[in-house]
């Protein structure tokens, strides 16, 4: 069995003391930022990215991955205890989780969230190990036309699955694509949109842009509606689930895991969408549906399993195709490029220790997370008492130093400030910045593949529809677009997001 020898290699890598330490640091940090509202995985990973330059690629990716799925665990703690989503993916967890906490069942809510997440994490890890290598094999046969169509599908899907206006989400994507073009054109060497600034010759710094949009922009937004937090529960007890609780959460956890795993793979999917979908589904089909919103344990278990499953399976397109499905994955790709690894289907065969080590580390990390989040919940409760007005100046300091160290240049600090201000404008105008970041990363790849496809086809755009795989991908994109635009389904979609 090749799978087992591969997983053996993975666990040997992930269980080396050094990687265990980095995995622990990642999940610990991830839980911390998950617990703290107003600090998300995108800003954190962007801040830490420059610090990983000197690290071994495996260790640095293991740590960065840990931050993302660790944040899914931490987010539920905040949602349950103070009715605030620590992470955008635990918005729905707050609904029933907080109600449970008010009735003194915070321990049960946290336990079901953590155990559901652990189960989902295990399933998702196995799924990545099984599904990723064949997908990468398939992707190896992709030509430039297929890659172009795949990226178009990815971008369309990320728009279709986002909340809010479609047109505005498309505008964000095109803005991201345009911003990605700034710098030296790889083919002709021409300086594009650099305005004679030598600092822009290599393009806008990705870390600075994402920290500005997601770190600084978010701080400015939070300052707009500041309020002192009230902590509902001082200490959490009763972490044990009753037999009845267990019976009630088995179904939701299974369905949440399945739904989350599926939605995570889709481009544009990931943790947040998965949790929303799982909550909506559970509310419809659960025999205790009437209790939803009044402290139903199913309403905690399902979305928490789903967001963890979604967070992990969103690594599949990143690892096998080199295409990010959400901003966190875009940062992971950035981390790979910094380490000199070309993202794409070759990662599986050329970097087996990295690939399998990362997969195995996810399971190890999930195990650590259950231990971190259940017995040590008191630590996080204490951390929740740190007020935001002490937290955000620290974020600002770390963002400044992070932006500087990304390229040892103060110019990037100014870029971050500019995008912080711009990101805040976007939030005010209700434009979602996530598609912008996807476009920004995909822009250069999209152009390169378009050029190569057109060169190979002697300038005929029909290449995108005559290649069967490319045609299939484009058809999916068009179908998705039609489905989302149709009035009936649009109404349902808006209903799902408003819930």
């Amino acid at each position: 069995m090749e799978l087992f020898s591969n997983l053996g290699l993975g666990f040997a890598t992930a269980l080396s003391p050094f990687n265990l330490l980095y995995c622990f640091m990642g999940v610990f940090l991830g839980t911390a930022i998950g617990v703290l509202p107003g600090l998300g995985p995108v800003a954190t990973i962007a801040m830490l990215l420059p610090l990983t330059f000197g690290l071994d690629p495996v260790s640095s990716l293991i740590m960065l991955a840990g931050i993302y799925y660790g944040a899914q665990y931490g987010g539920s703690t905040t949602a349950v205890l103070i009715n605030l989503p620590g992470e955008s993916s635990s918005v729905v967890t707050a609904i029933d989780g907080y109600e449970m906490a008010k009735r003194g069942r915070a321990g049960a809510a946290l336990a079901s969230a953590a155990l559901g997440s652990f189960f989902a994490g295990t399933v998702a890890t196995v799924l990545i190990a099984v599904a990723a290598p064949p997908l990468a094999m398939l992707a190896l046969q992709f030509g430039p036309a297929e890659y172009f169509s795949l990226m178009v599908l990815g971008l369309v899907a990320s728009v279709a699955l986002a909340s809010g206006s479609l047109l505005k989400a498309f505008a964000m994507i095109f803005l991201g694509l345009l911003l990605g073009l700034i710098g030296t054109d790889v083919e002709s060497g021409a300086q594009r949109f650099t305005m004679d600034l030598p600092e822009l010759a290599d393009g806008l710094n990705f870390v600075a842009v994402s920290m500005g949009l997601f770190g600084i922009g978010e701080i400015l937004r939070n300052l707009g509606h500041e309020h002192s937090r009230s902590l509902q529960v001082k200490s959490v007890s009763g972490l044990m689930l009753t037999r009845d609780d267990l019976k009630r959460i088995v179904g939701p956890v299974l369905r949440g895991t399945g739904l989350g795993s599926l939605l995570g793979i889709l481009p544009g999917g990931g943790a947040m969408l998965s949790s929303f979908a799982a909550y909506t589904l559970e509310k419809r089909i659960s025999p205790n549906g009437a209790q939803f919103g009044k402290g139903a344990i199913e309403g905690v278990a399902a979305p928490e399993s789903a967001n963890n499953a979604g967070a992990q399976t969103s690594f599949i397109p990143m690892l096998t195709l080199g295409i990010p499905s959400n901003p966190v994955m875009a940062l992971m790709i950035g981390a790979m490029i910094i380490q000199g690894i070309t993202p794409g289907p070759n990662v599986v065969t050329k970097e087996p220790t990295l690939f399998w080590g990362m997969i195995a580390s996810m399971w190890v990390g999930n195990l650590m997370l259950v231990l971190l989040n259940l017995p040590l919940v008191g630590l996080w409760v204490r951390m929740l008492k740190i007020p935001y007005h002490l937290l955000f100046p620290a974020i600002i300091a770390f963002c400044c130093i992070g932006a500087f160290s990304a390229g040892n240049s103060t110019f990037d600090v100014f870029v971050m400030a500019l995008f912080g201000a711009f990101g805040y404008c976007l939030i005010k105008l209700d434009f979602e910045p996530a598609p912008l970041l996807l476009g920004f990363v995909l822009g250069p790849m999209l152009e390169e593949n378009l050029r190569r496809a057109m060169l190979l086809s002697r300038g005929s755009p029909s290449v995108f529809v005559t290649h069967p795989l490319s045609l299939a991908l484009l058809t999916c994109a068009v179908a998705l677009l039609i489905v989302v635009v149709l009035p009936g389904i649009r109404a349902k979609r808006e209903e799902a997001f408003s819930e």
Binding site: L166, L167, H389, I396, S405, G420, L450
Partner: protein, 180 residues
């Protein structure tokens, strides 16, 4: 399709997007478009810029057809925005000259006042503590190429190194001599 668009907000947003698209078209005007077979540096930017202008205009026009919902942008915490952005700009402008330790102290202290809940007894230890942590972590452990205390703060820098300042100093001393 326009159902989720709002009148004043998205008219503004659409115009902003169209404007950005236009700016890219204008700035990239002299880039060689090439042909579909051999795309030049200007081909893809021109497509994207055109789509951007179109998208922005459609958003603005559709939003204009909605009944005005009034000004819905909400309150802007101006003090916070200015303090936070000002902190970032001062960090970028001064970190090499002043050094990491003083710049983090000042930037964190200034940024803290962006919050309504800022108090002197919390902001002071926060800025001093963070500066110490950052200095230790980033300079001592990670070896970031930044001075702990920058050249601007060392004695003798302003009198000798900077001609403008030395001229100023000389003229000031000359003035004081004359005045006496």
């Amino acid at each position: 399709m326009a159902s989720s668009l709002e009148n004043p907000r998205d008219v503004l947003g659409g115009m902003l997007m169209a404007g950005i698209g236009g700016a890219f078209l204008w700035l990239g005007g002299d880039l060689d478009p090439g042909s579909a077979l051999r795309m030049g540096a200007g081909y893809f930017p021109r497509i994207l810029g055109t789509i951007m202008v179109a998208l922005g205009s459609v958003i603005a026009l559709l939003a204009m057809r909605q009944p005005s919902a009034g000004w819905v942008l909400g309150q802007t915490p101006w003090r916070g925005v200015i303090l936070v952005l000002g902190s970032l700009l001062s960090f970028g402008g001064a970190v090499r000259g002043v050094g990491l330790l003083p710049v983090v102290t000042v930037v964190v202290f200034a940024a803290a006042w962006a919050s309504r809940y800022a108090r002197l007894r919390s902001a002071l230890p926060l800025s001093a503590g963070l500066a110490a942590v950052c200095a230790f972590l980033f300079i001592h452990l990670l070896g970031l190429p930044l001075p702990l205390i920058g050249p601007w703060l060392t004695a003798g820098y302003w009198s000798a190194a900077d001609p403008a300042v030395s001229t100023l100093a000389v003229s000031a001393s000359a003035f004081s001599t004359i005045a006496r």
